[in-house]
Amino acid sequence: MGRYILRRLLQLIPVFIGTTFIIYSLVWAIPGNPFAGLCGPRGCPPSFVEQMTEQYNLDKPLPVQYVLYLGQLFQGNFGETFNGIEVSTLIQNAYPVTIKLATIALVFEAVIGIAAGILTALRGKGFVDNLVLAATLFLIAVPVFVSGFVIQVVLGVQLDWINPSVGSDPTIGELLIPGFVLGSLSMAYIARLTRTAMFENKRADYIRTATAKGLTPRRVVSVHMLRNSLIPVITFIGTDFGALMGGAIVTEGVFNIHGIGGLVYQAINKQEGVTVTGVVTLLVLVYLLMNLLVDILYAALDPRIRYD
C-alpha cells in the first residue's frame, strides 16, 4: 500500500506539469488584449502596457513565459494580478470559504442521500419509495441556478429567514442554505445510488447466510448489507467532494459567496492568466489528491481490492 501511494504521488508530477502548461497556454491563447479594459474607457497609456508586458514576460515566446512562470511557482510564488494583488492572498481569502461550503454540501448530500436511499430500499415499493424517486428526479431535472434563485427569493427575500447575499467571510450558519442548494443534485444521485446498491445486495447470497445464522435483522442490514452497498456510494462522494473543492461558480454567484469558483470566473473574464493558472493548478492538485484518497478508502472498504 505504501508503495502504491508513493507511486500515485509521483504520478502527480507529470500531471502537474501537463495541466499547468495546458492552462497557461489556453489562458494566453484567449483572443483579445488583456489590458484592453484595465484602465477604463480611454485605455491604458502605452508606457503602462509596455511595463506590464515586460513584467509578465508577455513579449517572450510562450514556452519561455511558461518556464519562467513555473520557476516562480516552485519558489512558492503564485505571482500577482495586474492590480498588483498577490494571487496567494486571493487564494487564502477564497479557499476557506470554498472548503466550508463544500463540506456543508457534502454533509447534506451524504447524510440525507444515504438515509433516503436506505429507507427506500428497506421499505420496498410504496409511498416512501415513490416520494424519494419523484423528489430525486425533480432535483436532478432542475438546474442549480433555478433552485438557488427560488430558494434565495423565498427564504431570503419573502420570508426573510436567511441572508440572501452572503458576502465575504461568511459564517457556517450563512452557508447552510447555499450548501444545501449546492449539494442537492449529488444528494439525489447518492439517494438513487444507495437505493440501487441496497436493492441489489438485499437478495445477495451472503445476506441469506447472515439471516440463516440467526443474526438480528438490524445487524444483517447495518453490518452485512450496508458496507457492501456503500462501496460505490463512497466512491461517488469522494469524487464529488473533489469537484466541490473546485468551487461552485453558479451557487457562489447566486448567493454572492466569495469562494474559489467566483475567483476563477472573474480571472478568466479579466484574462488574468497568472491567477487562472495558479488557482486552477491548485484545484487540479486538490482533485487528484481527493481521488487518491478515494482509492485508498475503496481498498479499506473492500478487502478484495489490493494495490500491490
Binding site: 439471516t211 440463516a212 440467526g214
Partner: protein, 339 residues
C-alpha cells in the same frame, strides 16, 4: 398420508424435523407458480436424509421454508406444517424462529464464495455468532472461530481466520462455511448442494467431513443434491422430489436396488457408466413442468414411459410400500416386484 408417519420412526424424542404437506407459492404480478405442492419428509437425530431432484423441484425452497429464510415476497407458505422437535414453526413468532436459526438448525449453501460476505474476514463471520448469540468478547470469539476452522481441518487456522473469503480456495471456503454453520452446535444441518461448485476430489473430502461431523455430533443432516453418486455414500434415507412433491421416499439401499418411481429410475439410468462407454447417455426426455401450469394427473406423466390413462387423470398419492418405503406412482407395486 401423514398418519402413517408415526409408525415408521424410532423413538419420538429422536424425531428432529417433520415437514408435512408443505405448500409454497411464488407470486409475481403475472402469475402464481406452485413451487411446493405438499412436501412431506422427516429427519431423525443422527440420520442423513438426502433430498434428490432436478433444479426447480423444490429441494432448496423446502429447506428455506424450514429455516424461515424464504424470500417473501415472492414466496409464500400457503399450507402445511413444519415441526422442529414437535414444535410448530409456521405459527411461531419471527423472534422464536430467529432464535432457532444457527442455534438449533443451520444451513450451508452451494456457492461459498457468494454465500460468504466478501468484505469481512472469515473469522469475523464465524466469530459474529459467538459475539452476538453467546455474548463473548471480540477476542474470545476470534479464538473460538479459529478453533472452528481447526475443527473442519483448515490448516494453519490461527492465521487463516483473519483472511477474507476470496483468499480461500473453493474447498477451504466450503469448509469455512461448514465451520460457520456448526458454530452454535445445531442439531439439524441442512446442506444445500454443498459440493456442486467444487471439483471431484474436493467433493469427496467435503462429504467425508460432513459425514464425520454428523456422526461426532449426532446431528440430523439434510443433504440436498442432484448428484446420485454423492448420495450413495452417505445417505441413510432418500427423498426424491419432482415438481414440488416428494415422489419417492426410501432407505438408500432399497432405492438403489429397485426404484419405486419411474422418475427415480430415470435419474439412476442417467448416471454415466463405464461399461456403456461410447453409447449415448440415457436421459429423461422432456423438461420439468412449468410450475405455473403443472399438468393434471401425475405431474411426471408427460415424461414417463409407463404413463397410462390413469396417470393423466389422477394424481397419485405418496403411499406406503412397506418397510419405510413410499412412492407416488400408481404402479409402484409393479415397479418393485417386476424386473
Amino acid at each position: 398420508m401423514s398418519a402413517t408417519d408415526d409408525n415408521t420412526g424410532g423413538s419420538p424424542g429422536a424425531r428432529l424435523l417433520e415437514v408435512e404437506d408443505l405448500h409454497v407459492e411464488f407470486r409475481t404480478r403475472e402469475s402464481t407458480a406452485s413451487v411446493l405442492n405438499g412436501v412431506s419428509y422427516h429427519v431423525d437425530a443422527g440420520e442423513t436424509l438426502a433430498v434428490l431432484g432436478e433444479s426447480g423441484s423444490g429441494k432448496s425452497v423446502t429447506a428455506q421454508a424450514v429455516m424461515g429464510i424464504l424470500d417473501t415476497p415472492p414466496g409464500f407458505v400457503t399450507k402445511g406444517s413444519i415441526r422442529y422437535r414437535g414444535e410448530e414453526l409456521l405459527t411461531a413468532t419471527e423472534e422464536r424462529r430467529r432464535g432457532l436459526r444457527g442455534e438449533n438448525m443451520a444451513m450451508i449453501f452451494q456457492d461459498a464464495l457468494s454465500a460468504l460476505n466478501p468484505v469481512y474476514s472469515v473469522g469475523f463471520q464465524i466469530a459474529e455468532q459467538f459475539r452476538f448469540r453467546r455474548g463473548m468478547s471480540r477476542r474470545d470469539a476470534m479464538t473460538k472461530a479459529a478453533e472452528m476452522l481447526d475443527l473442519v481441518k483448515i490448516p494453519n487456522a490461527k492465521q487463516r481466520v483473519k483472511e477474507f473469503p476470496h483468499q480461500f480456495s473453493g474447498g477451504m471456503r466450503q469448509r469455512a462455511m461448514i465451520a460457520m454453520s456448526l458454530a452454535l452446535d445445531p442439531d439439524l444441518l441442512i446442506a444445500d448442494e454443498p459440493t456442486t461448485a467444487l471439483d471431484v476430489t474436493v467433493q469427496a473430502q467435503i462429504m467425508d467431513l460432513l459425514d464425520e461431523l454428523r456422526r461426532e455430533r449426532g446431528m440430523g443432516l439434510i443433504l440436498i443434491t442432484h448428484d446420485l453418486g454423492v448420495v450413495a455414500e452417505v445417505a441413510d434415507r432418500i427423498a426424491v422430489m419432482y415438481a414440488g412433491r416428494v415422489v419417492e421416499e426410501s432407505d438408500a439401499e432399497s432405492l438403489y436396488a429397485r426404484p419405486a418411481h419411474p422418475y427415480t429410475e430415470g435419474l439412476m439410468a442417467s448416471i454415466p457408466r463405464l461399461d456403456q462407454k461410447g453409447e449415448q447417455l440415457a436421459s429423461i426426455k422432456g423438461l420439468p413442468p412449468n410450475l405455473a401450469a403443472i399438468p393434471a394427473g401425475c405431474p411426471f406423466h408427460p415424461r414417463c414411459h409407463r404413463a397410462q390413462q390413469e396417470c393423466r387423470e389422477k394424481l397419485p398419492e405418496l403411499h406406503e410400500l412397506g418397510a419405510g418405503r413410499r412412492s407416488a406412482c400408481h404402479f409402484a407395486e409393479e415397479l418393485i416386484s417386476s424386473d
